[in-house]
Symmetry: none
Subunit: 305 residues, 2 copies
DNA sequence: CACTTTTGTTGCGCTTACCGCAAAAAGAGT
DNA sequence: ACTCTTTTTGCGGTAAGCGCAACAAAAGTG
């Protein structure tokens, strides 16, 4: 009710007469007259000076006019914002990933996305797997990327790629001469592993039980960056999915050797979002880009040349 | 047509369900559902995620919600402007404050305002800091006054005054003989403190860690009134910003001694309102009065005579 | 001053947008 | 699989808004 009345009043005031306003809007003069007097009634103030041929605004009328002008411009800016949202010119994606994904390959993907979608803001949160799942569930983030599968019913897995665990070491390390590494081989090397409680340690634990031995890492750290650096230094080896050191592998500063053990279950990269949440615009685009790239990441050659 | 639809959408989004909105507004759920989908049709964008029990906004929906909030506050300010134009000096201010501010000094400020602005209705809501921030954000109140800083981006801080924490006790209490009080001194006194989770306790916790001791309050309460009363009774001391006991300090029934510790960060009184909301009329006047008085409150002498 | 022209206001049927009720559909939990 | 809750859809009714036309009043005209 407000909307119409204000519009009629606005046009009438701008054009100086109800007649002209009626022509411009395409409604009968009577409607204009009625709507305006109705508006005056609800506002409790006269907006136009009564008993005049041409329309003259009262002080109150001027205020209402200003108000409506502002309202129109606000509405217009809302519409353009929505339009931009539709065209994915603007937007915001929040995603949570595990630390293991940080690296050159991932950075290049983000870079690529931002070049092709300027104006889209990306927020990256680094968290543990359980935190990521929680954030996805509670809509704190649009997309999550974790290093295992989750059985949460309300999580939708868009893509999951197997990422076998590998032993990473410097090219001149003794382990690099092996074709494949077993759990027993690891006993002979200085090890750098994540702490207990991490997924990788849990996987290794099963293999340790089978082989009836206990790995004693020389260094325990939560920082995957540090693990890569230690391995690159040459003395120690670390155990990670290949994806966690993609850039070092392609550079050749690290080499990967498959870690084979019957009890060892593979790590899995999962791209997840909340079930029932329809991602549109920016999040949807980033999701499909990641989906494609993840597939190609899994085809990295095992032995760097 | 816009007007109704936006209102329904707004309430539904705020309450989280169409059913609740229908109860609050007093129209059938079907109307709400229809109006919202109609709004979506005219805007050409989905506003809420379809097929869900609780209403979840899409990015576009959030924009529309923000837009409507602004519309509402603009309309309100138009109405007050018209009201003032009618030269009837009536109006209404709603503000939310923390319990710590209740006291004679604040009461006198309100009293002063009401004497100078007869006919203006003031509504005071007492809430916790987070509640106050929420109320300011959602336009439930015009002005908020909290005992810390907030990093909410949509909050505008009009004034913030540092309020060092002080130890409050009766004039004949042993603590009153000290020039300044340290965390270690507190161990010797009966303490009355707010519960853990309160800002004051968080500040104290840092100091406790530094001094490697743990304060064991004799009484824990959320009521600042009670804390003052306990301290006035003579046996115990409490830790509060001076502003929380201004009237007792000027009366001389309580004295304040500065609490000095390198780890202790000061409390801060912030006068806040929503970014982008232009306050006019009564709210604007009250805001500037409070701004001036707050400055003078912070200059209260440390030792009551 | 009478007449005309132009413009705003009022009266009266008519359309349609909006509403409530009830039934169906779809989630969410058990 | 079943139940409970919430949303969507179908249908008939009401009232707000519309156009048309008659009416009233200001401004121009001779």
């Amino acid at each position: 009710m407000w909307d119409n009345a204000l519009n009629y009043f606005y046009e009438a005031a701008k054009l100086g007469s109800m007649r002209l306003a009626s022509e411009k809007i395409g409604v009968a003069v009577s409607s204009i007259s009625r709507q305006i007097s109705q508006l005056e009634a609800t506002l409790g103030t006269a907006l136009i000076e009564p008993g005049r041929r041409s329309i003259r605004l009262t002080a109150a009328g001027q205020h209402v006019l200003d108000y409506h002008r502002k309202q129109l411009s606000d509405r217009e800016s809302l519409m353009t914002r929505l339009q931009e949202l539709r065209e994915v010119k603007t937007g915001r994606v929040v995603m949570a990933i595990g630390e293991g994904f940080i690296g050159d390959a991932f950075a290049r993907t983000i870079e690529y996305f931002q070049v092709r979608n300027p104006g889209i803001e990306i927020a990256l949160e680094i968290s543990s797997s359980t935190e990521i799942v929680r954030k996805v569930l509670e809509d704190e983030v649009h997309i999550g990327m974790i290093l295992n599968l989750t059985d949460e019913p309300k999580i939708r897995t868009r893509l999951s790629v197997e990422q076998p665990l590998a032993v990473l070491c410097a090219p001149d390390h003794p382990a690099a001469r092996l074709e494949a590494v077993t759990i027993e081989d690891l006993m002979g090397f200085a090890l750098c592993l994540p702490p207990k409680g991490f997924r990788i340690r849990a996987s290794l634990a099963a293999a340790e039980r089978r082989a009836r031995l206990t790995l004693e890492p020389m260094l325990v750290t939560t920082s995957i960056q540090l693990m890569r650096d230690i391995a690159r230094a040459g003395r120690a080896v670390c155990v990670l999915p290949r994806i966690s050191a993609l850039s070092e592998l392609t550079e050749g500063t690290l080499v990967a050797r498959p870690l084979h053990d019957p009890e060892l279950d593979d790590a899995t990269v999962s791209l997840i979002y909340r079930l029932g949440r329809q991602l549109e615009g920016a999040p949807a685009r980033l999701l499909s880009l990641l989906e494609n790239n993840l597939k190609s990441w899994s085809h990295v050659p095992e032995v760097a040349r």
